[in-house]
C-alpha cells in the first residue's frame, strides 16, 4: 500500500502534463512507497488554501501536500499563522543551486520561469512591423482597432501581466517600485490607478471593444481563429500551441524591448500541516534537481530556477538567446487583489458597448 502525495497545479494543461509525465514517474521511481496525485486547481486555488489554513492546529489532514504555483502571502496572515514551510530551513539539498534572482520569499520554492510575450498573426502584421515598445504597441492598436485583446487579470496570468506592464509603463518602467512588502492601501492604489489610466486609453481599441477573454486559452483561440491579430501569451504555452498545431505556423512572437512584459517564477508552497512533510520535501528536492530542471527547459519551454551552470552546456547556449537579461517580475501578495479588483472596477466597465 502506497501513501499519496497531493499536488495542486494552478497552471494550464502543459504544466499538468509535465507533472504527470515527467515529475511523477521520477518521484515514484525514487520513492516507490509513494504515489503522486496531480490535481488541477485551475483558477480555484483559494478555497483549497483556506481549507489547509482552517485545518491548521487541528490534526485534520487537509489533503494538500504541495501547491505548484502559489503565493504564500495569501490569504493575509497565513505566514504569521505558520501555514507555510520555510524552505531555507527545510533542508532541501538542491536549494542552494537556486538562482538567487528567482527567490522572492523563503516560503516559496521557485521551479520554473516563464514570461509573457506578444503573439501575433504574421499574415496580418509583418514581423518587421511588430511593435517593440509600449508606445509602438499603443500606436498599432489605435491604427488597428479591435485587433488586440487580452484575458481578464483574475485568470490565467497572461492578461494580468499585460496589465502589470501598463502599470510599469505608467510608473517610469521601474519594477523596483513594487515589492512584496511595500503595498500600502491608498498610496499604492494611486500608482496602480496611473496604469489603469493607460489601459482605459487603449480599451476602446481592444476587441469588442472591451470583450476581455476568460482565460489564456480563449485568447489563443481568438488568435487561432483569426479574430484578432495580437494577444499576450505565456511563452511556454504558445510554443506548445504551435507544436500541437493549434496556432498556425504563421504565428509570430515579439517582446517589448523597452521593458519586457512581466513574467516570473512559479513558487511551490508546502503547508506545514501536510500529511507527510518529509516525503513532500523529497518531492521538492527532485523538482529542483538538474534532471528535472533540464526538462523544464526542453519540455515546457520555460526557464530553469536553478542556475544555468548546473544544466547541460549545449542547452544553456541554445536557450540563452531567448532568455532576456532579466524577466521583470511583479510581486504577489496584496498587490494581486488590488490589481485585479482595481482593474475590474475601473478599466473593464469603462468601455460602453
Amino acid at each position: 500500500d502506497t501513501k499519496r502525495i497531493d499536488v495542486y497545479i494552478t497552471g494550464d494543461s502543459n504544466i499538468i502534463n509535465f507533472w504527470n509525465n515527467i515529475i511523477k514517474p521520477a518521484y515514484e521511481k525514487a520513492n516507490p512507497q509513494y504515489t503522486l496525485n496531480v490535481v488541477s486547481a485551475r483558477n480555484n486555488i483559494a478555497p483549497i488554501v483556506d481549507r489547509a489554513l482552517a485545518a491548521l492546529g487541528s490534526n485534520v489532514d487537509p489533503q494538500v501536500d504541495l501547491f505548484d504555483e502559489n503565493d504564500p502571502n495569501l490569504p493575509k496572515g497565513a505566514i504569521e499563522k505558520g501555514l507555510w514551510v520555510d524552505f531555507t530551513k527545510a533542508g532541501i539539498a538542491n536549494y542552494d543551486k537556486l538562482n538567487p534572482v528567482t527567490i522572492e520569499t523563503k516560503y516559496g520554492l521557485p521551479y520554473r520561469g516563464t514570461q509573457v510575450v506578444l503573439a501575433y498573426d504574421t499574415t496580418k502584421l509583418k514581423p518587421e512591423d511588430a511593435p517593440k515598445t509600449w508606445a509602438e504597441l499603443v500606436a498599432w492598436m489605435k491604427a488597428n482597432p479591435g485587433q488586440f485583446t487580452h484575458n481578464r487579470p483574475d485568470t490565467g496570468g497572461s492578461g494580468g501581466n499585460f496589465v502589470r506592464r501598463a502599470i510599469h509603463e505608467a510608473n517610469g518602467r521601474d519594477p523596483s517600485l513594487f515589492r512584496i512588502d511595500n503595498y500600502v492601501a491608498g498610496d499604492s492604489d494611486k500608482l496602480l490607478a496611473k496604469g489603469f489610466e493607460l489601459l482605459k486609453e487603449i480599451a476602446p481599441y481592444t476587441y469588442g471593444p472591451g470583450s476581455y477573454t476568460g482565460d489564456n486559452m480563449q485568447s489563443i483561440q481568438l488568435l487561432a481563429q483569426g479574430v484578432v491579430t495580437m494577444v499576450p501569451v505565456w511563452s511556454d504555452m504558445a510554443l506548445d500551441a504551435v507544436n500541437k498545431g493549434v496556432l498556425p505556423e504563421t504565428t509570430g512572437f515579439t517582446q517589448l524591448t523597452d521593458l519586457a512584459l512581466a513574467g516570473g517564477f512559479a513558487d511551490m508552497t508546502v503547508p506545514t500541516n501536510a500529511g507527510d512533510l518529509e516525503a513532500t520535501m523529497k518531492l521538492a528536492d527532485i523538482v529542483l534537481s538538474p534532471e528535472i530542471q533540464t526538462k523544464v527547459v526542453t519540455e515546457i519551454g520555460a526557464f530553469p530556477a536553478i542556475s544555468w551552470e548546473y544544466l547541460p552546456q549545449d542547452l544553456a547556449a541554445k536557450y540563452a538567446a531567448m532568455q532576456p537579461a532579466s524577466i521583470p517580475t511583479f510581486p504577489g501578495g496584496p498587490w494581486v487583489s488590488a490589481i485585479s479588483d482595481g482593474w475590474f472596477r475601473t478599466v473593464a466597465p469603462h468601455v460602453t458597448r
Binding site: 494550464d12 486559452m217 487561432a224
Partner: protein, 284 residues
C-alpha cells in the same frame, strides 16, 4: 358520394386551417432544431476535425487523432468511473431516503407538513456559491473535505427537491379507492403499498431518478469545492479541457462521448416526462 368527390371535399377542408396549423408546426420544429441542434452538430463536427480555421466552411482536415488521445487518457477513464459511481450512489441514497418521505408528504398528516415540504425549495433558492463556501468550512472540521462521501452528502442535498416533489405529486395522483380496494381483498398496508401504490408511481419515480442521476453526473461546483483532490469527475475534466487545454477537440470528443448516454436516457424517460410527472410536481 363518389370517392373523387370525397377526396375533393377533403382537400377543400384541409385547405384552410389544417395547413396553417402544420405550417406553425414546421416553423416551430425548424426554429427549435436550429436553436437546439446547431451547437450540438457543430461540436460533433469538431470532434472529427483536426484542423479547422476560419473562414473555411469545411474543416481543413478531418481525423480521429483526438479520439485515440482522449480514449487512452487515464484521467478520462478515472473520471468516468468516479462520476458514474458518484451519480449512482447519490441517486440510490436519495431514492432511499426521499421516497418514504414523499409517501409521508402525500399520504400522512403530521404537524408542519406544508412547511417541511416547502423547505426543500431552499435547496434551489440560495445561491450555490455562497452556500458551498460556508458548507466547506463546516465540512473541514468533519474531515469530509476531499472526501468522496462529503461530495455524496452535498450532492444528496441538491437532489432532494426533485426526488421528493416529483413522487409526492405522483403519490397524490394514485386513486385512494384503488388502495382501499386492495385492503378490501385482504392486503395489509405494506402490501398495498408494494403491490398497488408503488407500481403506479413507478413512471414518475423513474423520471425523478433519472433526472437526479443526470444532474448529479453533470454537477461541477460541489465536486470541485468539496471534492478535490480525491473526487475528479467528468464535468471537472470538461472544465479543464475547455479552460486550459490547448486542443479544442478534446472537449468535443468528450462531449460526444457524454451525449451517447444522455441520448439513451432521453429516449428512456421521454415517455415518463410526457406523463407530466415533472411539471405537475413543480406546481403547474
Amino acid at each position: 358520394m363518389s370517392v373523387r368527390e370525397l377526396r375533393q371535399a377533403g382537400l377543400a377542408g384541409i385547405g384552410s386551417s389544417r395547413i396553417r396549423a402544420n405550417w406553425a408546426g414546421i416553423a416551430i420544429a425548424a426554429l427549435l432544431s436550429l436553436f437546439i441542434l446547431t451547437p450540438l452538430v457543430n461540436v460533433a463536427i469538431w470532434a472529427f476535425t483536426e484542423v479547422w480555421r476560419y473562414p473555411a466552411v469545411i474543416p481543413q482536415k478531418f481525423g480521429f487523432r483526438f479520439w485515440a488521445d482522449v480514449l487512452s487518457r487515464g484521467d478520462v477513464h478515472l473520471a468516468m468511473t468516479t462520476s458514474l459511481s458518484l451519480a449512482a450512489i447519490v441517486t440510490a441514497l436519495s431514492a432511499l431516503i426521499c421516497l418514504p418521505a414523499s409517501y409521508a408528504f402525500a399520504r400522512l398528516n403530521f404537524p408542519g407538513r406544508n412547511l417541511f415540504f416547502m423547505s426543500f425549495l431552499t435547496v434551489y433558492a440560495f445561491p450555490k456559491f455562497g452556500l458551498y463556501i460556508t458548507i466547506a468550512t463546516i465540512f473541514l472540521g468533519l474531515g469530509l473535505i476531499g472526501n468522496f462521501w462529503g461530495v455524496v452528502l452535498i450532492q444528496l442535498v441538491s437532489t432532494l427537491m426533485f426526488m421528493v416533489w416529483i413522487p409526492v405529486s405522483a403519490f397524490q395522483n394514485v386513486d385512494r379507492r384503488q388502495e382501499e380496494a386492495a385492503r378490501d381483498v385482504g392486503a395489509s398496508q405494506l402490501r398495498v403499498f408494494w403491490s398497488i401504490t408503488l407500481p403506479q408511481v413507478l413512471p414518475a419515480i423513474s423520471a425523478a431518478v433519472l433526472l437526479t442521476f443526470v444532474n448529479t453526473f453533470y454537477e461541477t461546483e460541489v465536486a470541485w469545492l468539496i471534492g478535490a483532490p480525491e473526487v475528479r469527475t467528468v464535468p471537472l475534466l470538461m472544465v479543464r479541457f475547455i479552460n486550459s487545454e490547448l486542443v479544442v477537440q478534446y472537449g468535443a470528443v468528450l462531449s460526444l462521448l457524454l451525449w451517447v448516454p444522455s441520448f439513451i436516457l432521453l429516449m428512456l424517460v421521454r415517455r415518463f416526462l410526457g406523463a407530466q410527472a415533472l411539471g405537475r410536481a413543480l406546481g403547474a
